[in-house]
Amino acid sequence: MVTTTVDDGSIEVTSSGRIKKFLIDFYRGHPLGAIGAGIVVVMLLAAIFADFITVYDPEQIDFESMLVPPNWAHPLGTDNYGRDILTRVIYGARTALTVGFVSAFVGSFIGLVLGVASAYFGGRFDLIFQRVMDVFLAFPLIILALAVVAVLGTGTENVIVAITIPFIPQCARVVRSSALAIREIPYVDAARACGFSDSRIILRHMVPNVMAPFLIMLTAFVGQAILLEASLSYLGLGVQEPVPAWGLMLQGGAEEYAESAPWIAIFPGLAITLGVFAFNLFGDALRDVLDPKLRSQQ
């Protein structure tokens, strides 16, 4: 177990033990969250080692083995182009996590910066900023994404942009309200009185204190992003063939073959559901841990 501790090796042992204890505690206190985290780890491993754990090419068409039901050679069957579904589901984790993590991280990070800055500076800046955020928030998420795809075109990168943009105001709003509360706490005034720079106060004092809502938003966004990608694919505007992506696999196949070759629709659908499910379970547990108000009252 690698830890982030920078001290010498002697501490390594104890902190490793500490982490082990933390994990056990986390599992005892939040069994659902631990299950979620477990699924996330499996997904991550699948995404990273996709090349090593699969034998088929996820994109190569093989018309000789079209629509083969699950068997030993193809445990989850093949799709209408004769591609192995298990392979595509595994590679699909890579696409899903790339879309999920990149858009969630970028979206919530920009939201964090904007939200904290807005709360810290207050006044006119905050007022104008709030109105701008209101404008974005008034658009339903999928419609904002739709508009972005209409402007930028389809493809994995554009889908990420389309999903990131609506996340920014959502995160900014939540972070801002937490940051507002912190700004009123005397130590921020004290820091200011000490003559610290704005950026130092924001980074050292305010940002760490809004980490809880930030992390909760972040995990929620990963799940939402995976679902949004699927929805965009359903409307034909998501990731494009032949890239292996869960939403895309569900789009054509789920409808056309739902009955005659149900394995095409079932497995990517399950993958999405399980993935989003895991991130939500994990996020819930994280909230319980991070939010002091909800902390154990047994």
């Binding site: 182009y81 209409a150 075109g153 034909g236 494009q240 063939e241 032949p242 056309e256 073959y257 005659s260």
Partner: protein
């Protein structure tokens, strides 16, 4: 597939009852009554077919209008026309092929009661052929040969041409040339009136339109083809999702969809409903074209273009693609079953149609090497529509990977797809389609003519222009055929501006109680529904 074949056999057995003379007459006697519910894949734009171009306006609204001439509803596969508002047969040209005189049917009334005369036909055709300033007409360009239209008396219409042209009658027979009432066109803003109002002389009267939901028509008791229509009315239900349309037929919320379903949906319907479903199939007058942007490097080099078309195994691809997509027949630029189309032996001479794909791909690799493009990568500009665009695109990408070319599919919504082809022209290779209504190869192949505004390859070739013009003025079909082969060879092989992917295949599984409707080679044709009846 096996299931489908058995059902076709079952349908055959059902039809076999009609072997005896008695049975035949019984089966053929249409019953009156009933309302036909059908599903339409798109929300129609304005009601004015003179300016619109989508089938979305044809399916729900064509039953309300008459045409001067139309495709024979009892034999829509033939390319011959019959009279709708004229009487007798479609007239032959006099005056050395330059004058057509139509006798207009008497006693026809518009739905508002106004009698229909040749003046109405003239006013409608004038709106299409020579519209006043500010009035868009989408088929104006198909009537370049028309010199004048006159109505010397109420029952006679005379159309004079500038030069004899075999393309005139097919242009006139286009299913969009609805006849409006002159009275309506003479209103204030009369030329926009038909965008939001309906007043025709067709078999059905406009009853209601719930925006985005459905359009209803009721029987026109004064319809000029006596005894018809058989239906009391119809309801065209708008349903953009393919899956839902299929399920709607399965649950009998709709009896038919007139555009076409993919093979798998056909099989599912047949499997679930057995002989309650009848399947009609036909080659479709639509094809997917791979278009190379000749103004974009390296596609300005014909070796690269030829290599890319040589890499596509059309014969073998067809076998598999027809199981998953609405495409089937590999052919040249002419509609496969037409006499002007190339024979198999002729096709096998063309690049990308050689019988030996190994040899073809070896030649492709050699050409790429010669052009210094062995590591070619590019984006395929495609339309974000599943059937058949994305299927064909995905297949093409796989074909190109076999000669070491790496291609990324960029499928975009329809508006952007057009925009890149027509305005910005900054694509490398695109997947286009050529969809025509009336089968008329001499006109249809204008799509690949370099000067055509719909040929997006940006090519320039005077030889093609010359051949095209000669074909259009030649009446000897054997000579036209020879010229057509040369035209095809230049476009697909020598210059390889275009790679013809595959022709589409129209599959219409419908409730077996729908009778009288016969599949046409186009989803634009034969949609007046006057001879359709329900055997319930």
């Amino acid at each position: 597939m096996k299931k489908f074949l058995t059902t076709v056999a079952a349908i055959g057995a059902g039809a076999a009852i009609g072997l005896g003379a008695m049975g035949a007459s019984l089966a053929a006697t249409p019953k009156s009554g009933g309302v036909l519910d059908f599903v339409v894949p798109s929300n129609p734009p304005s009601y004015d077919a003179h300016q619109e171009t989508t089938f979305g306006v044809i399916h729900p609204l064509a039953p309300m209008y008459s045409l001067l001439i139309r495709v024979d509803p009892n034999d829509p596969q033939s390319s011959a026309f019959v009279c709708d508002l004229c009487v007798g047969g479609v007239p032959s040209a006099t005056d050395g092929g330059k004058t057509y005189t139509f006798k207009i049917r008497t006693g026809v009334k518009f739905h508002d009661g106004t009698p229909l005369t040749s003046a109405d036909v003239k006013a409608s055709l004038d709106k299409i052929v020579s519209p006043p300033k500010g009035v868009p007409s989408s088929r104006k360009a198909t009537f370049v040969m028309v010199d004048s239209i006159s109505a010397p008396n109420a029952e006679t219409l005379v159309i004079k041409l500038k030069f004899p042209s075999g393309a005139f009658i097919p242009a006139l027979g286009a299913p969009f040339n609805w006849i409006y009432s002159k009275k309506d066109l003479d209103r204030q803003n009369g030329y926009s009136w038909h965008k939001t109002h309906v007043n025709g002389s067709g078999p059905f009267i406009f009853k209601s339109h719930v925006a985005g939901s459905h359009i209803e028509g009721t029987k026109n008791p004064n319809y000029h083809h006596k005894g018809m229509p058989y239906l009391d009315g119809f309801k065209a239900i708008i349903a953009p999702k393919m899956n839902l349309r299929v399920q709607a037929i399965r649950a009998d919320h709709a009896a038919i969809e007139f555009r076409g379903f993919p093979p798998k949906h056909r099989d599912d319907l047949v499997k679930a409903l057995g002989d309650k479903i009848t399947v009609q199939e036909s080659d479709w007058n639509c094809g997917n074209l791979v278009v190379f942007n000749t103004k974009m490097k390296p596609f300005d080099d014909k070796r690269v273009r030829r290599a890319l078309t040589l890499a596509i195994d059309r014969w073998n691809g067809s076998k598999y693609l027809q199981k998953i997509a609405i495409v089937k027949t590999p052919a040249g630029i002419v509609f496969p079953t037409h006499p002007l189309a190339a024979t198999k032996a002729e096709l096998e001479q063309l690049a990308g149609m050689w019988p030996d794909i190994k040899k073809s791909r070896a030649e492709a690799r050699r050409l790429l090497k010669e052009a210094g493009q062995e590591n070619l990568t590019f984006d395929l500009h495609n339309r974000a529509v599943d059937q058949p665009y994305k299927h064909v695109g995905t297949w093409l990408i796989d074909q190109w990977s076999k000669i070491g070319v790496k291609v990324t599919q960029k499928a975009v919504p329809t508006a952007e797809w057009y925009s890149k082809f027509r305005k910005t022209k900054d694509y490398q290779v695109g997947l286009d389609a050529n969809c025509q209504s009336v089968v008329n190869p001499v006109a249809d192949v204008a799509k690949v003519l370099c000067s055509s505004t719909n040929n997006y390859s940006q090519c320039e070739n005077p030889k093609l222009e010359d051949l095209f013009e000669k074909m259009n003025k030649e009446s000897d079909q054997a000579k036209v055929r020879t010229m057509m082969r040369e035209y095809e060879r230049i476009v697909l092989d020598e210059e390889a501006y275009i790679g013809h992917a595959l022709w589409w295949y129209k599959i219409n599984p419908h409730r077996s109680y729908v009778k009288g409707w016969k599949i046409a080679p186009s989803h634009y044709l034969n949609q007046q529904l006057d001879n359709v009846w329900l055997d319930k």
